[in-house]
Amino acid sequence: MSSLIKVELRRFLSRRLFEVLSLLVVLGFIATGVGIFINSDNSPSAVAGIERERQRQIEDCLQSFEGQGQGQGGFVPPEEDPEEFCEEHGSFVSDPRFRYEDLRFMLPGLAFIFIMLGWLIGASFIGAEWHFRTLTTLLTWESRRTRVIAAKALAVAALTFLWIVALQAFFAAVIYPAAAFQGTLAGVDGDFWIDVIETGARIGTGAAIAALMGFALATAGRNTAAALGVGFVYLAIVEGLIRAFRPKWVGWLIGDNLGAFLQGSDQANYVGHSRGEAGLLLLAYAAILLAGAVALFKRREMS
């Protein structure tokens, strides 16, 4: 079994699609990093300008209280001091400095792309085998079909996770110079890194689960397009209809649980699941799909 897994790992890493997608994403991230670098400005004059503008807006905020009072009828909550309130909420200055601290919000923003990449790479991993009939060749070397699919699924899940984590690490690295030289590293401390690593690992896990689901659907449908089509119809239509007509079922939807898993908290959220529960539910869905795919594959006549 270990030899079989090793072969599948080698094949995954040698695939043209994997290379092309990696290259495209890397180029996109480099362009993003360069764009941020160019647009970020931490020169003293820019920083002083921001501070001046911020102070002006705070003063405007404080002036707006005069004559309007505080408490009943005013817009400052009765328990808050107007100065503290305006300090915190009274300015809307667009900071020209890129804040590396924002990485913790940028990664979840990119999660959709990573999940789609996982789905595509997982579906095409087996879809290509159906297309080129190489599964037939493979079965003349390893006739135990469950082993064949299990080895492929393990390789897909493990490498998708590592791939997506590596892409996120690359993104974090490629935007770092913009913050270090043209922006600010304020707020980048131990807690920040723990948060970023946790977020990155969750996104990697979500992409790996998506890859397993895509893989299972392509195994059952015997091509990549089947998995992509089913995925699109489910996410774009079925989930939309369920949200509209059966809102109580939202807690069982893949999309919502994925959102809860990637961005939720340890407390039960609107889907009724905590982050961990949502992750386990997604894993269970992937396992069910995979079990169905294996059952079909074992019965299938190979041409």
């Binding site: 090793k6 072969v7 094949r11 040698s14 060749t137 070397w141």
Partner: protein, 320 residues
């Protein structure tokens, strides 16, 4: 290259054993197609076994069932005494196969394709080079398979089948797409493997090739075996041997030979005399006695193609 020898463990067991194999495909719109209908087959170890039959006769279906790629509707298929449906994993390491057209990754090089397969059994890297050498692809091993011609892909598929140094090779139409020199090379290779103790089970349409390289043959027609045995025995099931004669005056010659006690029939512009080719001198002697001199006299030997056509010919519909 050490191709190994036939393992003693299997010496007393048939390498391939098919009993009462029936395979029925159900059509989506109802009805069914009987691809194989009660096939029995026994292939002993060593040598080259030809598996012949027209398109749709059930050859590939039989091979698929043997390799566990399809399930028999009835009957059993065994390789080295192990059932192909349930126990194939015990012997699959000893079996190399090509099923229909070559199935390899087009975006990987030939070497990479073989290396991935070899990795499943932790075969040494040198083995890949050996089999590339055997099929004459060593120089093109680094090129992507999608740049190969059909013949080269076929060679690569043969290399893949040879890679694990199997005791049994199951080759479905291995000469497909090969040019004449490629066909000759594959024929020599198969012949050599058979002589070295391997069992090669080969399906083919190129009957002259099969006749030259096989020790035994089975002929399939409509899912059934219509002839099976050593090549010479199967050939004897065809029409009787004779000689073909070309003379200017065919009616007189036919009368002369018939009066000498020989059976003569017209065969186009020639006469066919049913007589052993070794006794052809009787024909020329009889004709000379009547002042007739043949411009051509040659044996009309039965070949596998003739027997194949005779045995697999569809019955003619009676005239309305």
């Amino acid at each position: 290259m050490d191709l190994g020898s036939f393992p003693g463990d299997y010496a007393s067991v048939s390498v391939i054993e098919v009993s009462g194999l029936r395979k029925v495909y159900r059509r989506l719109r109802g009805g069914q197609t009987v691809a194989v209908d009660g096939l029995d087959l026994m292939v002993e170890g060593g040598g080259v076994y030809g598996f012949l039959g027209p398109n749709g006769s059930g050859k590939t279906t039989t091979i698929r069932c043997l390799l566990g790629l399809g399930r028999p509707t009835q009957g059993t298929c065994k390789l080295f005494g192990h059932d192909s449906t349930n126990d194939l994993d015990k012997v699959i390491r000893r079996v190399g196969a090509i099923v229909e057209s070559p199935a390899l990754f087009p975006n990987f090089s030939g070497r990479k394709n073989l290396s991935l397969l070899g990795g499943m059994y932790d075969l040494p890297k040198g083995r890949v080079e050996e089999v590339l050498d055997i099929v004459g692809l060593r120089d093109r091993g680094k090129d992507l398979v999608k740049t190969y011609s059909l013949g080269m892909k076929q060679r690569l598929a043969i290399a893949a089948a040879l890679l694990k140094d199997p005791d049994l090779l199951i080759l479905d139409e291995p000469a497909n797409g090969l040019d004449p020199s490629g066909i000759r090379e594959v024929r020599s290779l198969i012949r050599r493997l058979g002589q070295e103790g391997k069992t090669v089970f080969v399906s083919s349409h190129i009957l002259s090739e099969v006749q030259q390289m096989c020790d035994h043959v089975a002929i399939l027609s409509r899912g059934r075996s219509v002839a099976e045995g050593p090549v010479s025995q199967v050939l004897s099931q065809g029409h009787t041997t004779g000689v073909l004669v070309r003379v200017d005056d065919r009616p007189r010659a036919q009368a002369a030979l018939t009066s000498a006690g020989m059976t003569v029939i017209e065969a186009g512009e020639l006469l066919r005399v049913e007589i052993e080719p070794a006794q052809a001198s009787r024909v020329s002697e009889t004709l000379a006695g009547h002042g007739l001199y043949p411009s051509e006299l040659r044996p009309d030997e039965v070949d596998l193609e003739t027997v194949f056509m005779e045995l697999t010919e569809e019955p003619k519909e009676p005239a309305a």
